[in-house]
């Protein structure tokens, strides 16, 4: 039995990712946040990893060999999927934030998310069958 906890607080961040009762935009808000955080993490890892280029041909080619396995390819796939979702949702946010196309925002979102999904599938096929 808990005390009343109904006011805004930092600890409610978990609600950002609670899909219950959400509309499509609400779910893309959650996805945008997750993918944004994930892509930021990836960006900085990517930068660090590319440091191997400065250590010459052997270091880089060994590194590529190391990551050329299903585990890393799956990771790469997640990055691509995240990029597509974040990017295509971003298009909607940019357009509507400038006050353009807001009345048709829902249709726009559906179309954009469909494109992101198709793109993700194409990449999945290419990456996992290559």
């Amino acid at each position: 039995m808990n005390k009343v906890d109904n006011e805004p607080s930092r600890s409610k961040w978990i609600e950002w990712f609670n899909p219950q009762g959400r509309n499509l935009e609400g779910i893309t808000f959650s996805l945008n946040r997750i993918t944004g955080l994930g892509l930021t993490l990836y960006l900085f890892l990517h930068l660090i990893v590319l440091g191997t280029l400065a250590r010459g041909a052997n270091a880089y080619d060994n590194f590529i060999k190391l990551v050329h396995n299903p585990f890393f390819i799956f990771g790469e796939f997640l990055v691509v999927a995240a990029g597509l979702i974040h990017g295509f949702n971003g298009i909607r946010i940019v357009i509507t934030s400038l006050g353009i196309g807001v009345p048709t925002e829902k249709r726009l979102l559906v179309v954009l998310m469909a494109i992101a999904l198709i793109g993700t599938l194409i990449f999945a096929v290419r990456m996992f069958t290559a």
Partner: protein, 255 residues
């Protein structure tokens, strides 16, 4: 309306003073076309007189009876039971989020009303100004003198549904930004300092939950987007005409 009867389980959020939060369960025979608020009122009248909840107009003009019904914000006076559950189903009823609980289902919405005042949100406005962009019909010169109550009924559903209002107590919130949009930055330039801030129009991240739950045709998300455009326009002009913009703002405040 119909003669059909449904058996519905009401799970009601209960909280009194410093006591623990719990859910009380009631079984009720209802007409599926009755409104959720009718059910809650019957619980109070015939089952538990200690139940506290807010309600006044029963037809969506006062905004007092907002609650969370099965996890979604509803204005309970216009939500037929048929829309939110099934025969033999459950209605889990909780107070709106992001407001202090007074008791049980009643919350204190003072902060919303105060912020509406902060942005000079109109309670009545010319009939011609009710729409976001343009009016659905041509108003005659005669119509233009008429005044109507604003669409926003300050029910707080949007504040409860907004994911950002959940974590940031100072975020003005959808209803308030929509109120500022309706006031208009061109008519009230000083407002830009309130909405172009950490607590203002940029905190919205396009979840559109406010518009999804708004029972009153306000479409807060769309108004927030329009307000962004207004802010951007005013700041852009301010870049080239710094003094002019400031003088205008000062004049508005001292008037």
């Amino acid at each position: 309306m119909s003669n059909i009867r449904w058996k519905v389980t009401f799970q009601i959020y209960r909280a009194k003073g410093d006591g623990p939060v719990h859910f009380d369960t009631f079984f009720l025979d209802v007409d599926p076309d009755e409104y959720v608020l009718d059910g809650v009122e019957r619980l109070w009248a015939f089952h538990d007189r200690s139940l506290c909840y807010r309600h006044a107009c029963h037809h969506s003009t006062c905004g007092a009876c907002g609650m969370r019904v099965n996890g979604v914000e509803k204005l309970t006076c216009i939500t037929p039971i048929r829309e939110v559950t099934t025969d033999g189903g459950t209605l889990r009823i909780e107070p709106l989020r992001n407001f202090p609980v007074v008791s049980d289902l009643a919350v204190d919405m003072g902060s919303l009303y105060l912020r509406m005042d902060q942005v000079h949100a109109k309670s009545v406005l010319p009939v011609t100004e009710a729409e976001i962009e343009k009016s659905p019909r041509d108003w005659s010169a005669e119509d233009q003198q008429y005044i109507r109550l604003s669409d926003c009924i300050e029910c707080g559903l949007c504040i409860s549904a907004c994911p950002i209002s959940a974590t940031d107590a100072d975020y003005l919130g959808p209803a308030v930004l929509a109120g500022a949009q309706q006031t208009g930055l061109s008519k009230d330039p000083a407002l830009v300092e309130i909405v172009d801030s950490e607590d203002g129009v940029w905190r919205c991240h396009s979840a559109y939950e406010c518009t999804a739950v708004c029972p009153s045709f306000v479409d807060p998300a769309r108004r927030i987007m329009n307000l962004r455009r207004q802010v951007l326009g005013q700041r852009w002009q301010g870049l080239f005409n710094r003094k002019g913009a400031q003088n205008l703002a000062v004049e508005e405040v001292t008037r």
